[in-house]
């Protein structure tokens, strides 16, 4: 990309955003467009393959991953509204295709993958203007976004740009919310104990919204909050940023 800001990018919705949080996907696309980037959304997107990969079914994961890589032939950045799926495509695809005939092609693809906030901050250097009412939020850093993908506070720095938003950190910001994909249904008791602690932590911050960059964490935390009739709202960071900064 030679130091200049890219003019066009691909957007990969991810299966969870596609099915459960389409508004977050839309918001992500809007944020990119407003930063002056043309967004291409190829048809045929399904899943990055992470569920099968993590469960040890690599052949099945590869079959799916192969079809997904093929959707992004041009040398453009691929933006995902999810730290976990971006981690899968960026970090784990090279492992998944290690020694396979298409390894080089996949590696080239992986090098183009970004999580949305990472791209907004590190590549586009966006500046946000807050148009919303004062609000207190808290941030759940998804494990894969931080530990696999290596996010270094990009989401927090975007939230920090919003003048009317107070960010109240969780006591255990870096502790897993208990989702873990199939872990949540294979070990529902431990997973349930983890998410119960997470929502207690979030509630104690006094925030009215929990933000995250990952559909899995959002679904998990939201489901647990709803089951307890919690008043806290859960929102994808893209949707939150877009809602607060869009011209009305």
């Amino acid at each position: 990309m030679n130091g200049t800001k890219p003019k066009r990018v691909y957007f990969y919705g991810t299966c969870l955003v596609d099915l459960f949080f389409p508004d977050a996907g839309m918001a992500g696309i809007q944020l990119l467009r407003r930063a002056g980037v043309e967004v291409v959304f190829p048809e045929g997107q399904t899943c990055c393959g992470q569920p099968a990969f993590n469960c040890g079914y690599w052949e099945e994961a590869r079959d799916v991953a192969r079809t997904q890589v093929a959707l992004f032939p041009e040398d453009l950045p691929v933006i995902l509204p999810s730290g976990s799926c971006a981690g899968m495509m960026k970090v784990h695809y090279p492992e998944l295709f290690h020694g396979q005939p298409e390894e080089a092609k996949v590696r080239a693809f992986s090098a183009r993958v970004y999580e949305l906030t990472q791209f907004l901050v590190d590549v586009l250097d966006v500046k946000l203007q807050d148009l919303g009412e004062p609000v207190k939020v808290t941030w759940h850093s998804s494990c894969h976004a931080v530990r696999d993908l290596g996010l270094k506070g990009e989401p927090q720095s975007l939230i920090g740009q919003l003048s009317n938003v107070e960010l109240a950190p969780l006591t255990r910001e870096y502790e897993c919310c208990g989702f873990g994909g199939t872990f949540s249904v294979r070990h529902p008791e431990v997973s349930g104990a983890m998410v119960a602690d997470k929502i207690a932590d979030a509630t104690a911050t006094g925030a009215s919204v929990v933000l995250s960059t990952d559909g899995g964490c959002l679904m998990n935390v939201n489901g647990a909050l709803e089951a307890k009739n919690g008043k806290l709202k859960v929102q994808h960071i893209a949707e939150f940023l877009w809602e607060r900064t869009r011209a009305r």
Binding site: C55, C176, H187, V190, S191, G223
Partner: protein, 477 residues
């Protein structure tokens, strides 16, 4: 078909979660350890430098493991330490029994040793009329109550002070009830001092064995390690075959990162360098020193280039202290010698990935363990590898029990998932159905039922993102 005799971590974990005292004990203790470790590594770059160095030392040691072990044996022999090799725990137990019986030993005091736990040595010796008394305070507490360690370096961490006070009042002769920690410690010390003085033999573990010099390094905080290895006439040390390092200078960085990672101490209270039996003219030390080197599945792990990283472990326990699962369920729920993340990768490799399939999946792959590991063992990656091994026989590996965790249901489920997900047309239809009828799925359906134990059922959006993009295109304001 699940592997016969599969051990279900889920059930034991679920049971542990119902014990609020246990959960509070672990949470408090782990929070304390996390904070103490953090305080020891104020500069992340310094920490990373030390991790890099430690990882390199452990990797290099493993790279030339056979040569180093041979060298260790020769150096030990020169120092008067007799080395014995055991492929299995049974062999190791028999070996030790033979050494004790040859000298008519009836009592043995033990410093802390996880390898001896692996061997179930105490029970074995007891069967043969030899008393093996744990002298590490934590080990002493749990032995008294017939329990196993719940943490590799803090074996009694599942109990709090009040529980121990009640136990001591009950189990120590003439003890009066007190909750004063110093008094409780003094009680145990009084019992143990007698034992140290009169024991026929002493046993210890080994933190690092130095090939070049034939030195056995022992890290401890209570002085019981020194007493166990120094006072009785025979000292028997046991270690896993991975514990060897090449040179004495390799020990300093490993020691520095071990105590900091484990208990947040810059140094331990005692650090023993054992170089042989009592020499001529010396006033103390044992007359005989033996080193038992145990394999117990380690050479099988060693043979695999990826899984070999498991053997880098220096047993600091930082992975369990930082694990969100371990913190909540404690060590006993793992029903394994080594609990927590390291146990999750070590136990299945020793006992079989099928028998331990449930344990391999008892992780959210959050990565906290790998992040703190002082020797950078990629625990989440190895877990995924073991998940593959458990369900696939044809990986070309030598992993114990490979393929025996495979079930027709799971196989079918992933094939169906792939069949749909690699065909966008089919996927589109599936998504369409989910958005229109997802709400109607009963909360009691399999898997959904597990999810809704603590959450509401997730409801798909009315129209998926892809559908909106297809019909509306990329939005223009």
């Amino acid at each position: 078909m699940h592997a016969e005799n599969e051990i279900h971590f889920r059930d034991a974990a679920a049971k542990a979660l119902l014990d609020p005292q246990l959960r509070a004990n672990f949470r408090r203790a782990m929070d304390g350890l996390i904070a103490k470790r953090r305080a020891q590594f104020p500069d992340p770059r310094d920490l990373q430098d030390l991790r890099d160095l430690s990882t390199a030392i452990r990797s290099r040691s493993l790279l030339c493991l056979p040569e180093l072990l041979e060298q260790l044996e020769a150096s030990c022999a020169k120092n008067g330490i007799k080395v014995h090799w055991a492929e299995t725990c049974e062999q190791a137990n028999e070996l030790i029994l033979g050494l004790l019986q040859a000298r008519g030993a009836k009592t043995m005091v033990k410093g802390k040793s996880m390898v001896s736990e692996e061997m179930h040595l105490n029970a074995f010796l007891e069967k043969h009329g030899i008393e093996a008394l744990e002298s590490d305070l934590g080990e002493y507490i749990i032995q008294q109550d017939g329990e196993t360690p719940s943490h590799i370096i803090m074996p009694a961490i599942h109990k709090n002070k009040d529980q121990i006070a009640r136990q001591f009042a009950q189990k120590i002769k003439d003890a009066k009830y007190t909750e004063d920690v110093d008094e409780l410690t003094a009680m145990a010390r009084k019992v143990l001092r007698e034992k140290f003085l009169n024991a026929d033999a002493g046993l210890s573990g080994v933190n690092f064995a130095v090939a070049e010099t034939g030195t056995l390094c022992l890290v401890e905080n209570e002085g019981n390690g020194r007493m166990s290895t120094h006072v009785p006439p025979i000292h028997i040390a046991v270690m896993g075959l991975e514990k060897v390092v090449a040179r004495l200078e390799d020990v300093a960085p490993l020691y520095a990162i071990l105590t900091r990672s484990a208990t947040g101490q810059p140094v331990s209270t005692y650090f023993n360098l054992i170089t042989g039996p009592r020499g001529e003219g010396e006033k103390d030390g044992p007359q005989e020193v033996h080193l038992v080197i145990l394999d117990n599945g380690r050479s099988r792990i060693y043979a695999d280039p990826q899984l070999r990283a498991t053997l880098r472990c220096i047993r600091c326990g930082a992975c369990m202290n930082h694990c969100p699962v371990y913190t909540r369920v404690g060590g006993h729920a793992y029903e394994a010698i080594y609990p927590g993340p390291i146990g999750k990768i070590l136990t299945p490799q020793m006992e079989g990935v099928g028998v331990r399939h449930d344990l391999i999946h008892g992780s959210s792959l959050c990565g906290a363990c790998g992040e703190v590991c002082p020797v950078e063992i990629p625990i989440p990656e190895i877990l995924v590898r073991l998940r593959r091994e458990a369900t696939h026989e044809d990986m070309g590996s030598n992993v114990a029990g490979k393929g025996t965790g495979r079930t027709a249901t799971e196989d079918w489920a992933w094939r169906l998932w792939a069949g749909v997900s690699k065909r966008p047309g089919l996927y589109r239809i599936a998504t369409w159905f989910a958005t229109r009828f997802g709400k109607a799925l009963p909360a009691s359906a399999p898997l959904i039922k597990n999810w809704t134990q603590s959450r509401t059922k997730p409801v798909p959006a009315r129209r998926s993102l892809s559908e909106r993009m297809r019909t509306e295109g990329v939005p223009h304001e």
